[in-house]
C-alpha cells in the first residue's frame, strides 16, 4: 500500500520528464554546465596560444590574478566608461518610445478626414513647387521624392490609422542588425554619405554667418548653451530637493544621487580642458546643486523612508538630465571654437565614425532611430490602453490640464511598464554595443566605441585569453546582477500599490 503513492509520484515524474527532457538536457548542456565552467575558467590562466595541441603547457589556477589585472588595467575603465556613456541614451530612448506611444494611442480621424487630406496634399504641392522654382528646379527629383513619400504616408495613415505609423516606427527596430548597421556606416561616410552631403550647405551657411558676426558671438553662444545645460541640471537638482523634502527619497538615495549629479561636472571639466568655460561650468553647477539641496536639507521633513528609498525612480530623470547637460556642453564647446574655425575656413561637417569625439554620438543617434519604435513602444501602447478612462474623466472634472493629467494619471499608471522597460534596458545596455562596434568601427577610433562586450570578444576570440575574458564576463555579470537587484529593491516603489 505504501508503495503506491511513491509509484504514482514516480510515474508523474516520468511523464513530466518525457515532456521536459529535451529542453532540460539542452538547458543543462548549453546553459548550466557552461556557466559553471566559465566561473572556473575565470580563475585560470587558459590562453589558446599557450595551451593548444602543439603547445601543451599546463593550465593553472591563478586565483584572483585575472580580476586584479583587469581592475588595474586603465583600458578597462575606458571601456566601462564607454558602456555607461552609451547607456545614457536609454532614458532618451524610453522617453521617445513613450512619446511615440502617446501619439499612436490618440483617436486619429479616419476616412471622413480624406477631404482635408486633399487640401493638405494640395498645399504641400504648392509649397514644393514654390521651393522648386526658387531653387531653379535643380534638385527637383529629390523634392518630388520627399513630397511623394510624405503624401503616400499621410494617405496610408488616414486609411490605415495608427497601424500604418506603428509599422513605420517599428521597422527600424525589427530590422536592426548587421545589415542596418552597415547601412548607417555608409550613411555616415564623411565623403560619400548622404548625412554629410545634406549637412554641407548647412555648415557653410553657419560658416558664413560666423564670418560675418563679430568673434565674440561664439563666446556668447557658448555661454547661452552652458546656461541651458546648467538649467537642465538645475531642474534635476530642484527635483532632488523636492523629493528629499517630500520624503520620496531617503538619506542614502540623496547622497548617491548627489554624487551621480557630479558626473557631468567632472566630464564637463575634462572636456573643456583649460578653456574659460571649465570654471564657469563647474562653479555654476556647484551653485545650483548647493542652492537646491541645501534649501531642501534646511527643512526637516517628516521622515519614514528607508535610506535607499527613492534612488531608482530618480535615476531615470537624473540620467536624462545628464544626457541633456552633456549635449549642451558638447554644443557649447563646438560653438566656442566656431569663430576661429569659420575664420580659417576649415569648418566641415563631422567625420562621424572616424572621429574620436563624434563616433559615440553617431552610434547613439543610430541606436535612437532603432529604439524609439521598439518593443518598449508596444508595451507603452498596451499600458496606455489599459488605463481606465474614469481616471481621466475624474481628473478633467478637477480641471486638470493635459500636463497635470499626464503627471498625475498617465505616468503613475505606467509605472509597472516603465519599471520593466528600465530593468530590461539596463541589462541589455550593460552587455550591448558588440554588433555596432564589430560592424561599424572595430571599436575605434582609439577605443572610443569599445564596450565591455566588444572587449570580451577581443580577449576571448581574437587574443584567445580565455581565462581573462571569462573574468571580464563575470565582472560584467556581477554588474548586471547588482543593477537588477538595486532595481528590484528600490525601483518598484509605485509598482506594488
Amino acid at each position: 500500500m505504501s508503495a503506491s503513492p511513491t509509484g504514482k509520484t514516480r510515474g508523474r515524474l516520468a511523464t513530466a520528464m518525457v515532456f521536459l527532457g529535451p529542453s532540460l538536457l539542452g538547458f543543462l548542456a548549453f546553459t548550466i554546465v557552461p556557466l559553471g565552467l566559465s566561473f572556473i575558467l575565470a580563475f585560470s590562466n587558459w590562453d589558446v596560444r599557450q595551451h593548444n595541441m602543439f603547445k601543451g603547457e599546463r593550465i593553472e589556477f591563478v586565483g584572483w590574478e585575472n580580476f586584479e589585472r583587469l581592475l588595474t588595467h586603465p583600458a578597462f575603465y575606458q571601456y566601462l566608461g564607454n558602456t555607461l556613456f552609451f547607456m545614457m541614451g536609454i532614458p532618451v530612448a524610453i522617453v521617445g518610445s513613450l512619446v511615440a506611444a502617446l501619439l499612436l494611442t490618440r483617436d486619429l480621424p479616419g476616412r471622413q478626414a480624406l477631404r482635408r487630406i486633399h487640401l493638405i496634399a494640395a498645399g504641400g504641392l504648392v509649397v514644393a513647387l514654390g521651393v522648386l522654382s526658387l531653387t531653379g528646379f535643380a534638385p527637383s527629383g529629390m523634392t518630388l521624392l520627399i513630397v511623394l513619400l510624405f503624401g503616400s504616408i499621410l494617405v496610408a495613415g488616414v486609411l490605415g490609422r495608427s497601424t500604418v505609423y506603428r509599422t513605420l516606427f517599428y521597422a527600424p527596430h525589427f530590422t536592426a542588425g548587421v545589415a542596418t548597421f552597415l547601412l548607417w556606416k555608409k550613411m555616415y561616410n564623411p565623403q560619400t554619405g548622404p548625412i554629410n552631403t545634406a549637412l554641407a550647405p548647412v555648415v557653410s551657411t553657419i560658416e558664413s554667418i560666423f564670418q560675418w558676426l563679430p568673434p565674440a558671438a561664439g563666446t556668447v553662444l557658448a555661454t547661452i548653451l552652458l546656461g541651458l545645460g546648467l538649467a537642465v541640471m538645475g531642474l534635476f537638482h530642484r527635483r532632488l530637493g523636492q523629493a528629499w523634502r517630500d520624503a520620496e527619497v531617503g538619506r542614502g538615495g540623496l547622497w548617491a544621487l548627489t554624487m551621480l549629479a557630479f558626473v557631468p561636472v567632472l566630464l564637463g571639466w575634462q572636456w573643456m580642458g583649460g578653456s574659460w568655460m571649465a570654471p564657469f561650468w563647474v562653479v555654476g553647477s556647484m551653485l545650483t546643486l548647493g542652492w537646491w539641496v541645501l534649501r531642501a536639507l534646511r527643512e526637516k521633513p517628516f521622515r519614514t523612508v528607508s535610506a535607499g528609498q527613492g534612488f531608482m525612480p530618480l535615476v531615470l530623470p537624473l540620467t536624462g538630465a545628464i544626457t541633456g547637460a552633456l549635449i549642451c556642453i558638447g554644443l557649447a564647446i563646438v560653438a566656442a571654437k566656431l569663430p576661429a574655425m569659420a575664420a580659417s575656413g576649415d569648418l566641415t561637417p563631422p567625420n562621424w565614425l572616424a572621429d574620436y569625439h563624434w563616433a559615440k554620438p553617431a552610434i547613439m543617434i543610430m541606436a535612437f532611430w532603432a529604439a524609439v519604435g521598439s518593443n518598449n513602444m508596444i508595451l507603452y501602447i498596451a499600458g496606455l490602453t489599459n488605463i481606465p478612462r474614469e481616471l481621466y474623466e475624474a481628473a478633467e472634472i478637477d480641471g486638470a490640464n493635459w500636463w497635470n493629467r499626464f503627471w498625475h494619471v498617465t505616468w503613475p499608471q505606467l509605472a509597472p511598464v516603465t519599471f520593466f522597460i528600465v530593468v530590461m534596458s539596463v541589462i541589455g545596455g550593460l552587455q550591448g554595443g558588440f554588433e555596432m562596434a564589430r560592424a561599424m568601427t572595430q571599436g575605434g577610433p582609439a577605443g572610443s566605441t569599445t564596450t565591455l562586450s566588444y572587449f570580451v570578444y577581443i580577449e576571448g576570440f581574437e587574443s584567445g585569453r580565455l581565462g581573462y575574458a571569462s573574468a571580464v564576463v563575470w565582472v560584467l555579470f556581477a554588474m548586471v546582477m547588482t543593477m537588477t537587484l538595486l532595481n528590484f529593491k528600490f525601483g518598484n516603489r509605485n509598482v506594488n500599490d
Binding site: R12, L20, L102, L108, F169, L379, F420, F461, S470
Partner: protein
Amino acid sequence: MSHASPSSPKVSGMRYHVLLTVLGLIMTLPFVWMVLTGLKPLAEVANESWLPSEFQWGNFAEVFSVIPFFQFYWNSLFVASWVTFLQVVTSAMAAYAFSRLQWPGRDKVFLLYLSTLMLPGLVVIITNYQIMIHLGLVDTFIGLILPSAFSAFGTFLLRQFMLTIPTSLDEAAEIDGASKWRIFLDVILPLSRPGIIALTIFTFVGNYQSFFWPLVMMRHQDHYTLPVGLLFFDSEVGQSTHLLMAAVTMSVLPMIILFVFLQKFLISGIQLGGVKG
C-alpha cells in the same frame, strides 16, 4: 484609446496625422536611401540627389556573382528554420510540463529556468565555444543550431500563454480517457497557437539576425550566414557602396514583409512576454 483626446478630435486630429507622417518619414528615410542607392551606378553614390539617373536593376543580380550571396541566404534560412522548429517544439513541451503537469520539484526547476533569463548571453558563449571545439562541431551547422535549440525564454513565454487556457478543457479530455500526450497535441497546442506563432516569429527573426555565434563558429565562406556574409562583403568590396546597399536591401526586405503580415501575432507576443514578466 483616446484618453487625452481634445474636445474636437476631428479638427485637431489632422495635426497628429501630419506630425506622425513627418516622424514616420524620418524613420523611413534611411530605408529609402538604402533602396535607391542599391539602384545607382557607383559613380552616383556620392551625389546630392538620392535618385539614380537610371535605375540599375542589374546591381541586385551582380551581388549574387560578386559574393556567394545565394549561399548566405540559404544558410541563414536553413539555420533559422531549424533553430525555430527545434526551439518551438522543446519549449512547447517544457511549457506543458511546467503549466499542466504536477510533479515534485516543478517550481524549483522553473525558478532555475526563470533565473537564467537575466543571464547575459556572453557568460556562456566562451565556454560553449570551447565545448564545440571539443565536440569537433566548430564550423558545422549542427554546432551552430544545437545551442539555440533550447530556450528558457521560449519556455517561459509559452508557459504564460498556456496558463491562460482554462484547465476545465483538459480535465474534460482526461475524463474521456485521453492520455497526457493526446491532451498536449489535441487540446493545449491548438489553443496555444497565437503564442506559438509569436515565439516562431521571435525565434526566426532573432536567428536570422544572429551575429556573434555564427561569427565565431563559422570559418568557411560557404558556411557564412547573412550577417556574417554582409560583414565579409563590406570588408572585401566596401567601396562598392551601391552593391552593398543592394545586398542590405535584399536582407532587410524579407523581414519588413514578414512584419507587415504577421504584426498582429508579434505584438500580442511582446505584450505577453513583457507585461506579465
